[in-house]
Amino acid sequence: MTVSTFFPDASPETTSVDGRVERSPTPAESWASIRDGVGNGAGDADTRTLIRIAKAGAGSYDTLARYIALFDTSSLPDNDTIDAVTFEGVVIDKSDTLTPAGQIALVTSTPASNTALVTGDYAQLGTVDQAADVTIASITADSATYNVWTLNATGRGNISNTGITKFGLRQIADADNVEPTGTSGDNYIRLANADEDLAGDKRPKLVVTHTSTFTPRVIVF
């Protein structure tokens, strides 16, 4: 076995970006409009990113924010089996006041560029879980502890050993298109980015456990 760790690039990126894509309309708008509308904000040099649904009133939303993270895993040996993968991130603070309670889903992403994020990338996150969802309630938000998403078979299958592995985080209500109930609330986690400014090294990371495929050789005398 070998355990290999990968990080997105900080700005300026050379192979693999991370950062936020969001829609923050004024005035607030309906669930369908904010979830399926075009993005109006993006950033790939921030120190942290909100993954967020902010509800201003009944049926009225003023922010939906998603996170995109790319990892250059092209150096992984050819033909290695991917045995286990975790996406790990440090959270600075959180809120969980919507109904139902928030969960964060790891999904795939397909930004237009590997080295920059634009508002159009707001629509470039998938909806299929690549790992078990993590409840906001269970997330440690202390600016130090890594929170772990353990990838499922689908997620492990999306690790590229020839190019860039592309994931993202979004609220499960956003991924599943299930509008929160209640009149107002704010579900978010604030995640440290590759450009983080916390003590030590708190960058998001992808930890890949892989095994070489045994190739039997027969020697005939």
Partner: protein, 149 residues
């Protein structure tokens, strides 16, 4: 003792840290190779002053702007033609390495792991930046050999 780092070396543009993991009774559990891309030796964190404010390449504090929203955020930005001041050492620190080894130990305790499992490190496919940065990593982390937790 959960683990001991036995080797730190370079292989195909990657920093390799080999660790022996131990059972609770002190016997050898498994040996694992941990790798980081050599390019990490070229990545330096943005520098801040004592107040935690991001600095520009001339040592002045970066300008900030308020990003409006339900949660207003103060965000530093880079003026045109300027660069960030960077810390001299790589962003990767001792705890980046120790934390990963620690985490794998805990995960495998929770999920179970075969006794004595070991594998040969295979050849990675490094980028030129991996070759360019890996010596910096080796110089910084070779002193981890013998480290135990």
């Amino acid at each position: 003792m959960d683990f001991k780092i036995t080797e730190v070396y370079i292989s195909s543009g990657h920093l390799v840290v080999t660790a022996e993991h131990y059972n609770a009774n002190g016997s050898l559990w498994f040996v694992e190779h941990y790798t980081w891309q050599g390019r990490e030796g070229l990545k330096q964190k943005r520098a801040t002053n004592a107040l935690g404010q991001l600095l520009l390449d001339d040592g002045t504090v970066a300008p900030v702007a308020v990003r409006r929203g339900p949660l207003d955020e103060l965000v530093a930005f880079l003026p045109p033609g300027r660069n960030w001041l960077r810390q001299p050492a790589p962003h990767l620190v001792d705890d980046s390495i120790l934390g990963t080894i620690r985490s794998i130990h805990k995960q495998r305790l929770a999920t179970g792991w075969p006794q004595g499992k070991v594998d040969t490190l295979r050849t990675f496919k490094p980028a030129p930046t991996d070759h360019a940065g890996v010596a910096v990593l080796l110089a910084k982390f070779r002193l981890l050999v013998g480290r135990t937790e």
